[in-house]
Subunit: 240 residues, 2 copies
DNA sequence: CCGGCGCCGTTACACGCCGTTACAAGGTTG
DNA sequence: CAACCTTGTAACGGCGTGTAACGGCGCCGG
């Protein structure tokens, strides 16, 4: 990455705003917080974000209105964040020029993944002809994981069926390779909740994932156990 | 396509008026906005619409009155738009010559679907009066879905019969590919209503759609199940 | 107005995911 | 070496999902 993409987060709830900013910064984005539409307008006079993440329900000018205004003049891509179940707003949102939307409450990883996807789409002028996906693939040791289509191919190119939990788990690893990921982190990533005491859910899910990756826990090629620490994804991961 | 049907939208609220016009134009109709009955009369001296979409509650002459006047002289078909749940208006509306009735707030898609239905009914030559797929055809894995003609072609170009519900469901997917769509979202999209507890309607509809797409639920190429989340359309979709 | 037909919502049941539990196999500590 | 920890995983069962079957309802042709 040449330079960190700049993302504006427009959200009135201070807690969610701070959460979103910290999530993005943790993933090495450059994030700026705006508490309302006016603050965004002010920011836009000084810098042009690569992406605007916009809450729909806000005091003052609401997100749909801001979205309409900005996309009408060909501004940066916009991701709308809407309260859960507000489907009509969602549909209209896309029709008035938003590039994506995210239902609230959102999973931390969803926010980051979708931001990445939009930025990639916006920056790539080349139409990639990758099989069955809009673009992004994670490759490791001949395997490839398609996060958009939620599919995994083994080194022979044969599809391997992953359950929802296994897919989320593997996603966490390929997006954070060569780092020790604690069980707490993995629990939060895959389920969005904290582990209860004596919770073995991660261990069992991991055991099942290892089997599908044909990884031997005695001498693992992919997922190494770090005693008292968590797990570590050993292969080098390419983003293609 | 012979020529885009011409639709007049009579509605005093500028936001709803703009929304309706933009929805119709997106579907290749030719739409004209009128902010009141007088503007409609003015328009009628110049062009005859194929359909008039008419708000009931308006300052000045109200929609019922306009409807009575126009249908009495055998004018174009009329769709009334009224405040929600106003059954009396509904009955009166249909008795004084309206062809259909749309409760407000309406689903964006519902407006378009009903407009299409009326035009189809009104014109003896069914398909030719509707805007053809000109700009809108969704292709995925060799299949193609024509939203205007409501038809699906398999990779060999053979037509596959879809029921209304199946078509709406597939529409939702091709317009939101590679995104997890919740059952709530799909219910709202296809029926415009909320799911009741233990509602399996979406699951069953989806199962039927999968069969027509010849998609194996055990290792789906098209529609993947995301447990506790919803469904995801995996293929890359092109708009042609 | 009647009867057939097709759509689709409901129901019922089968099946597979995954969280829990239990136990085994190391490792660690004293 | 004993006691205790951590981790791997088989087994079990609750529950979410797939889908066959049934039947109500609306549509359409007599």
């Amino acid at each position: 990455m040449t330079e960190a993409p700049f993302i504006a987060v427009v959200e009135d709830d201070p807690e969610i705003r701070a959460l979103a900013v910290s999530l993005l910064e943790r993933e090495n984005f450059d994030a700026a917080a705006c508490e309302n539409a006016a603050a965004l307008d002010d920011l836009l006079t000084r810098r042009t974000p690569d992406l605007i993440i916009l809450d729909v329900m806000m005091p003052g000018e609401d997100g749909l209105s801001v979205c309409r205004r900005i996309s009408a003049q060909g501004g940066p891509p916009i991701m709308l964040v809407t309260a859960k179940g507000d489907d009509i707003d969602r549909i209209i949102g896309l029709e008035i020029g938003a590039d994506d939307y995210l239902p609230k409450p959102f999973h931390p990883r969803e926010l980051v993944a979708r931001a990445r996807a939009i930025l990639r789409r916006a920056s790539s002028t080349t139409a990639s002809a990758l099989p069955s996906s809009g673009g992004h693939l994670f490759r490791f040791e001949g395997w490839s994981l398609d996060p958009a289509a939620r599919g995994l191919l083994d080194p022979d190119g044969l599809p391997v069926e992953l359950s929802a939990g296994e897919f989320e788990l593997l996603s966490a690893f390929v997006q954070h390779p060569q780092r020790v990921l604690s069980r707490d982190f993995l629990m939060d990533w895959t389920k969005g909740r904290d582990a209860t005491p004596f919770d073995r859910a991660v261990d069992v899910a991991l055991s099942r994932l290892r089997r599908k990756l044909r990884d031997d826990p005695q001498s693992p090629k992919f997922i190494r156990t770090v005693r008292n620490g968590g797990y570590l994804f050993a292969p080098r991961v390419e983003r293609a």
